[in-house]
């Protein structure tokens, strides 16, 4: 299908883009890689009158170490995230998860910021960002502000980014020594989106006690959420099989699991628990192995 007609804008700076957004407001959508918005426009699920393309805005892409965090520009493509030597060394789960998105064509065009700002309930990266406790840097007419990932995802395709704001950067804290993280995904057989995706990030001390646990769940519900019950079940415990099993059993609690063509609420809740257990086991293996 063809999209409805629209005007196309190519601002040359973040400021110019924000000014345009302020003027056009609800009639405008920001375009990053176009791998979520354009299909929606073709199906006419989205009919913006104006597209503001961010691809010519300098300074929005790139990956750099900044203090104790890795800062990823919003327009950085999934492939750049997947292949980043810096991320692979410091927070490999981010690269791993990026490599599980779509297919090579999608990864060469789709961006991490576009994915997070679009907040598709089956996107992969939200679960990873929740598990790692990322911060989202948002630019707007009132300047720059930073939002914690727990305050970012508001609902189905809704985020903390205001109508006149732009997601500019994602800041992921580098986990301390003794940490490990893993993302486990059950891909949709056609779209490759996550039917269920769970990311677990753990830190264990010298005695094998889990000192910190972050677990994010995506795909099953209307938005990515933090699995607080699982985190509580892991933190402070020696992570033997029984502890992991008991913690993972709580993975679907608090997720508004939706039935669809891929399965019932019961099945998808089960998948969340299984993938939580596998993600925790893999994360623990990495934590013990150093990364």
């Amino acid at each position: 299908m063809y999209p409805a007609s629209f005007d196309y804008h190519t601002p040359g700076s973040v400021q110019e883009a924000i000014t345009l957004l302020g003027k056009l407001r609800d009639d405008a959508k920001l375009l990053a890689g176009g791998h979520s918005l354009i299909p929606m426009m073709k199906l006419r699920l989205a009919q913006p009158k104006h597209l503001i393309d961010l691809r010519k805005v300098p300074g929005l892409a790139g990956i750099r170490e900044d203090g104790g965090s890795i800062a990823i520009g919003a327009m950085t493509t999934h492939w750049q995230v997947e292949s980043s030597k810096l991320l692979q060394a410091k927070i490999p789960v981010v690269s791993d998860a990026a490599g599980m998105i779509g297919d090579p064509q999608v990864r060469n065009l789709g961006t991490i910021g576009g994915s997070l700002a679009h907040a598709d309930p089956a996107a992969d990266m939200p679960a990873v960002m929740i598990a790692l406790g990322a911060e989202l840097v948002i630019e707007g007419p009132r300047g720059r502000r930073t939002v914690k990932v727990d305050d970012f995802f508001k609902g189905l395709m809704m985020t903390a980014v205001g109508p006149d704001e732009i997601l500019a950067e994602i800041r992921v804290p580098v986990p301390p020594a003794g940490s490990g993280a893993a993302y486990q995904k059950f891909p949709h057989p056609a779209s490759r989106f996550a039917v269920v995706g769970v990311c677990a990030a753990l830190t264990v001390d010298g005695k094998g006690i889990c000192t910190k646990a972050g677990v994010g769940v995506t795909g099953a519900g209307t938005r990515a959420v933090r699995a607080k019950g699982v985190e509580a079940g892991l933190a402070g415990k020696a992570l033997d099989h029984a502890a992991i099993e008991a913690a993972a059993a709580k993975a679907a609690d608090g997720v508004d699991v939706q039935a669809d063509l891929q399965g019932s609420v019961e099945y998808k809740s089960h998948l969340v628990r299984v993938h939580a257990r596998r993600a925790i086991e893999a994360a623990l293996g990495r934590a013990k192995g150093g990364k």
Binding site: F186, A190, L261, S264, V274
Partner: protein, 291 residues
């Protein structure tokens, strides 16, 4: 040499295999053969390609016409060479008199004279054309054995096709690469039917799997590299000894893969699952059988 065929090619490679057949029979390069199909302005009648019949039926009709054209060409060549037909040798697309290969008539010279018509055998009608219809006395019966190795994740119902071996007997093969291509494509189609493809409708008749993001066609990364082999038992029901090859993969792959999945689930007591064998159905069947 132009061949007009009522058997239409929409990817089966008639332009190649039929041209091979002509080049082989007439001793001319494939580049001098044109295959015309699918144009109602040029083809008096055709029913297309179906039932894996094009090479068996269409190919045999082409062979019959080639025999007629060759017989007439031989008469013209003998006349031009002032020799008896039975003293002619046909080799490399040329006729010559036995024992004096220096004096030869090519297809070009013979064809030209067939239409110039000022030096033809007494009573011969000009032209060098033939139309043939082949009505096979029976169907052809290709046979073979396909084997699949499938891994099932009993916890999630996820399937993985690890290995696929296909041995088919399609009689004599004109072009092995094209036959392999048809077998490969057919296996993918059969696997898709067994495992993923499902046109789901809602109770009120809305097609729910209406886009390629929902309807799961098999993709390259879901399929192993197939192992294909052939035995050759010529068919007795057509002069080429050819049997249908186009549907060996589609027909065999579906039950092969479905049976492999059911075999993997045999320890759980699962004996049947309706196709497609999607993960949620497999999970449900295992769960029910375990009760």
């Amino acid at each position: 040499m132009t061949v007009y065929t009522g058997s239409h090619s929409h990817g089966q490679g008639h332009e190649t295999t039929f041209a091979q057949l002509v080049a082989d029979q007439l001793g001319i390069p494939m580049a001098q053969v044109e295959i015309v199909h699918g144009d109602t302005a040029q083809i008096p009648f055709g029913m297309g390609t179906y039932g894996s019949r094009s090479a068996c039926v269409g190919g045999s009709a082409i062979l019959m016409s080639l025999d007629k054209v060759k017989a007439k060409g031989r008469k013209i060549a003998a006349h031009l060479l002032e020799a008896n037909e039975q003293d002619l040798v046909f080799e490399g697309g040329k006729w010559s008199v036995k024992g004096s290969p220096g004096k030869a008539k090519t297809w070009g010279e013979v064809s030209l004279m067939a239409y110039l018509a000022h030096n033809l055998p007494q009573g011969m009608e000009p032209g060098l054309e033939a139309t043939s219809f082949f009505d096979p006395p029976n169907f052809t019966f290709p046979f073979g054995a396909h084997v699949a190795v499938v891994e099932v994740d009993a916890e999630t119902g996820q399937t993985k096709l690890l290995k696929y071996v296909a041995v088919d007997d399609v009689g004599r093969v004109i072009n092995p690469m094209i036959v392999d291509g048809m077998v490969h494509g057919g296996i993918a189609q059969g696997v898709g039917q067994a495992l993923w493809e499902h046109g789901v409708y809602s109770d009120d008749g809305q097609l729910l799997a209406a886009t390629m993001m929902d309807y799961a066609l098999p993709k390259a990364d879901q399929l192993p590299s197939y192992e294909t082999e052939r035995t050759v038992t010529p068919s007795p029901v057509n002069p080429l000894g050819i049997k249908g090859a186009g549907e060996t993969g589609t027909i065999a792959a579906t039950p092969t893969v479905a049976n492999a999945v059911i075999d993997a689930l045999a320890p759980f007591g699962v004996a049947h699952i309706d196709m497609p064998l999607t993960p949620d159905k497999i999970w449900k069947a295992v769960k029910a059988a375990r009760k």
